[in-house]
């Protein structure tokens, strides 16, 4: 299933947030959205998943999601959004319970996703017992449990410290390598963008438009910390963003 944004415009009151933006999200790839703060990248992600409506323009899904997919457009949130009163298992089952699956089937799915995110031994733990990185792993396994057609990731690593971020990036790369998924990945961290993105979409400051699309051809599994080619790409992205970010920083916030 592909996604397509067509001539999106959006206002919050009198503030124009996004102007005439069109974008294709091809299947099987990770598309990273980067841009200065307030450029509407998270808003764009909420449009893609149907949590918010643009003032004008269309969001289209092209083709049917796979048969076994329980929730085609699935988010991973910056602050994890785990229910603190449910265990790891309960949090994953929360999103399965409404689909009329048998108890056995649900257990199988939970076992499978916990294995894939290496969380099997934490099945009975409560979120408060887990570190930030572990909580986000739980959120990722919850997202995997519904077999999404597209994963919409809203700064999933931004709430974590940089060491944990490295570890989780490796995890995400391993997950993708094992079973490629389609994803839109919003971040303000250029390093994450060049490590995880097959294509990096650079947005301008408000009102958000596409400034440039940078494709990175190196396979994810071969991208390592400190790779000179990646560093070069990251520098290129920073050059693109620098002025926009500086200008955005000086704007008054009145949203």
């Amino acid at each position: 299933m592909d996604l397509k944004l067509k001539n999106i415009n959006h206002h919050y009151g009198s503030v124009e947030v996004i102007r005439d933006l069109s974008l294709d999200i091809p299947r099987g790839q990770i598309a990273c959205l980067i841009g200065p703060s307030g450029c509407g990248k998270s808003t764009l992600l909420r449009f893609l998943g149907g949590l918010e409506r643009p003032s004008s323009g269309e969001i289209l899904q092209i083709g049917q999601p796979p048969e076994d997919c329980l929730n085609p457009l699935t988010y991973v949130f910056q602050h994890f959004a785990l229910l603190p009163w449910r265990t790891v298992e309960g949090n994953i089952k929360l999103v399965l319970e409404d689909h009329g699956l048998s108890r056995r089937k649900m257990d199988d799915i939970v076992t499978n996703v916990l294995e894939r995110t290496r969380l099997s031994e934490f099945r009975e733990a409560l979120p408060k017992q887990l570190s930030g990185g572990m909580r986000q792993r739980v959120a990722i396994s919850r997202a995997l449990a519904v077999r999404p057609a597209v994963m919409l990731m809203d700064e999933p690593l931004s709430a974590l410290d940089s060491q944990t971020r490295e570890l989780l990036m490796d995890d995400l790369i391993a997950l993708w390598t094992r079973q490629p998924f389609t994803s839109v990945y919003v971040t303000h961290n250029l390093n994450e963008a060049v490590r995880l993105g097959h294509r990096v979409v650079v947005l301008s400051r408000r009102p958000g438009r596409i400034r440039e699309i940078v494709d990175i051809d190196i396979p994810l599994s071969e991208r390592h910390l400190g790779d000179p080619v990646l560093d070069e790409k990251q520098k290129q992205l920073w050059e693109l963003m620098r002025e926009e970010a500086a200008a955005a920083d000086k704007e008054l916030i009145n949203v």
Partner: protein, 285 residues
């Protein structure tokens, strides 16, 4: 010179100071971080309580406090024991507990239900929040005669008075609790395609539960206060009527015995809610 070089010179200087070669005063950095963090201290509550009792006992025995102002604590205790032995305790306690239970359950369940509806539906909120705000400050005791007209002199008017009294604080606590449920969790539920009912049942209600429970502490205390008021409506038995009777005869021992029972009821409620919190809210950080 490099940055490292500057650093090393600085450290030599501080070493000099350490050994006192430059003659400066060496002193520990004063600690300024304490306080503002109350922690539970065991036994203090009981000590204060016992001290007050002993003070009252000595005061009344020596005549420093006259018998007209305060009864002797041991005499109050004797009255309690007597009440227990003659079976009068249960005769008064059971009707009171029944009123508290029926009235409180009615007020709390309607209050929680309406509070949740106010939290969820804009129209209910727009319609009822001003009404609740208008009802909240009315002293329910002032409505006593009206309740007798509406619901008769029997148990019903007592139930309704207690129900009405617990209803308003419960509604306010409940819709506040629902309002404060983490919106990002609700968004999450929507993004995974959970049904409206699932979101309410699995996200909104458990999320609001802690604040509803602390609202219940207030509501139940108010219910106990109103119990006495309700029993002014001509009840033959009940802790409230026992206290009123003692009051009109100026029998201070009996009066204080009754008040003690009410106070113990309050403590028990507090304890039970504390237990429920510990049992069901262990997920809180």
């Amino acid at each position: 010179m490099s940055d490292a070089g500057t650093l090393s010179t600085q450290s030599t200087i501080s070493n000099d100071r350490d050994t006192g070669q430059t003659g400066s005063v060496v002193q520990p950095v004063p600690f300024r971080g304490g306080g503002f963090a109350p922690k539970p201290v065991r036994g203090v509550a009981i000590a204060v309580f016992v001290a007050l009792l002993i003070f009252a006992e000595i005061g009344t025995r020596t005549g420093f406090i006259t018998n007209l102002t305060l009864p002797r604590p041991t005499a109050v205790f004797e009255t309690l024991v007597q009440l227990w032995q003659t079976g009068g305790l249960w005769k008064h306690l059971i009707p009171s507990l029944q009123r508290l239970l029926v009235g409180g359950a009615l007020g709390i369940s309607v209050g929680v239900a309406l509070g949740v509806m106010i939290g969820l539906f804009s129209y209910v909120r727009a319609g009822l929040v001003p009404l609740v705000a208008a009802l909240f400050p009315i002293p329910k005791i002032a409505l006593l005669p009206l309740f007798v007209i509406w619901f008769g002199i029997d148990e019903m008017s007592k139930y309704m008075l207690i129900a009405f009294g617990t209803f308003t604080p419960t509604v306010v606590a409940t819709f506040g609790a629902v309002d404060n449920v983490d919106r990002s969790l609700i968004r999450m539920g929507q993004s995974f395609g959970l049904s409206w009912w699932s979101i309410v049942r699995k996200i909104v209600l458990p999320g609001a539960f802690p604040a509803i429970l602390s609202g219940l502490r207030v509501s139940i205390s108010i219910a106990i206060i109103l119990l006495v008021a309700a029993e002014m409506l001509g009840a033959q038995y009940g802790i409230g009527s026992y206290i009123l009777e003692a009051g009109s005869l100026y029998d201070l021992e009996k009066l204080f015995a009754g008040v003690t029972i009410l106070s113990i009821m309050g403590l028990i409620v507090n304890f039970v809610i504390g237990r429920i919190e510990r049992r069901f809210l262990n997920w809180r950080e």
